[in-house]
Symmetry: C2
Subunit: 314 residues, 2 copies
């Protein structure tokens, strides 16, 4: 099957390409290298089943010409800004890279009659739920970050395109995903800070922010397993049942870096930064009932990623 991976040079997208190629597909990747990198897809150079276009997915005319040339049967849409703190300072990043990419992809799917879509959504569509477990049917969808707002907006316009054009759409809402090729986030920050000053560590908030961290291999496995869906929009929360606090991450990083008795300085307050959701619990009943569970716990995913981050930079 010829498939498009939009945002395929990104962290998650590049792993998905590896899985799709292993599965025997012809893979076309479009990426503007805004967050994705050449490094992430360098190992695919020369693979006859892989084609790369450096292009901005929010430029409709460029995208149209690629859709006209390649005849996709499936679009995996993972193109988005993924740096929530960056867009907190400059919201138009989400307009351009998260929402506009979605609209342009949908419009090209409509024009070229591509019927199958996977969309990478996020736990951030739920907003602050005050520690309540959130399931797919939660009534209140009130994003508090521009990222979550643009992703929920993407889901909304996908709903319309799906109905109007008889699409089969799989939407995964997932929390923090970590693993090889990760480029930013708290693990990176801690490793970097401890390399610069191994005598102490400053932690944003009170360190009690707890989130489920999911390994990218588990996520990609779930995409591959569930990618064929009936007509309409199928939404799953995807994640792990366990959570890891920021303080626990700091301990794991110190341990893996062989640093002991490092004093932690907390900046205080509930959240790390405005738009961050400090406590988050996911109801995963739907995807568990469908026969899938993550293979790694949140702590295991963190530990594995910390090792890779430390290893890569040595």
């Amino acid at each position: 099957m010829k498939v498009l991976v939009a945002g395929g040079a990104g962290f998650i997208g590049s792993h998905l390409i590896d899985a799709l190629l292993s599965d025997g597909n012809e893979v076309v990747c479009i990426d503007n290298f805004f967050i994705g990198t050449e490094d992430n897809i360098r190992h695919l150079q020369g693979n006859p089943h892989f084609t790369f276009y450096k292009s901005d997915l929010s430029h409709l005319d460029e995208l149209d010409s690629i859709f006209a040339k390649e005849r996709f049967e499936y679009v995996f849409h993972l193109a988005a800004n993924s740096d929530i703190q960056a867009s907190a300072r400059e919201p138009m990043i989400e307009y351009q890279n998260t929402y506009s990419t979605t609209f342009c992809i949908l419009e090209c799917m409509r024009r070229y009659q591509v019927k199958n879509l996977f969309f990478a959504s996020t736990s951030a569509v739920y907003g602050e739920q005050m520690g309540q477990e959130v399931s797919e049917g939660t009534a209140s969808l009130s994003p508090i970050s521009y990222y979550g707002g643009a992703k929920l907006g993407s889901e909304a316009i996908i709903s319309a395109f799906a109905y109007m054009n008889d699409l089969q759409v799989l939407i995964f809402r997932f929390p923090n995903v970590i693993g090889p090729r990760l480029t930013h986030g708290v693990i990176f920050d801690f490793v970097k800070m401890l390399r610069e000053d191994p005598t102490q560590l400053t932690i944003l908030g009170d360190g009690e922010q707890r989130k489920p961290y999911m390994h990218v291999f588990d996520l990609v496995g779930a995409i591959m397993k569930f990618r064929i869906v009936p007509k309409g929009v199928t939404i799953y929360n995807v994640g792990v049942e366990t959570q890891t606090s920021v303080t626990r991450i700091a301990h794991i990083v110190c341990e893996k870096m062989n640093l002991s008795n490092i004093p932690f300085h907390y900046t205080g307050g509930r959240g790390g930064w405005k738009g961050d959701v400090p406590v988050f619990a996911y109801n995963l009943d739907k995807i568990h009932a469908a026969g899938w569970k993550a293979s790694m716990s949140s702590d295991e995913a963190v530990a594995s990623t910390v090792e890779q981050v430390i290893g890569c930079k040595r």
Copy 2:
């Protein structure tokens, strides 16, 4: 108070401007005349409390320069495509005129610290609910039109901007609004068809599509009444309890045009066109409890509008 009415040359916007001027405000109107018209605001020419900019609200730089010059205290955002059938053929209309206008307005509000927003949303955010009454807390928001999708996307990004910038936002979700200055829709279509051929009338669908039609004066009254809200996003369904079927509208139009015994030809099927929601019922408990009710029933609003449509064209 100096206020911006975005899309103020449109059907609803122009009536809102009249009310805001009567209330003693300084009103700035921005409109690109995509759907709005000079006719709708001609009566305001020369009013020292009224300023007009012909500008596209999706052009951020233009909008920024207006925000820099005028110092708004309140933004009423009614700029959007309102022709759902037009965007069903060309979805990018909604990207440009409905979603992008919202994002650019919010970004300018952020830059210039404007804290108060009214947003005109729609019953179309709910999608097809199979005749079930929809209230503001309905879990399933599954728009089936590009218009509904772009409006729900607007609500989603408003949620994020409201949280990040401490905005006070009032969102009204309203169904079909009719009254003076209306420019399109079923009443217009019937009057036009009967003027061209007063011996018969073709009706899309089976004529049983029933919707609540609300008079624009009632809607504007509700905006004026509820426009001051606490921090955060306050959402109301706004409408009338009664509904009018398409066949009933045809009867009212014939009666007002003094045409009797006109045969109606039905094209058949449930909905008039794809993306139309054929049966729609609104739960209005929240706004009724807050002390507001529409003064005109759906049939009364239709009858009043039919008279005006016929009168204006004579």
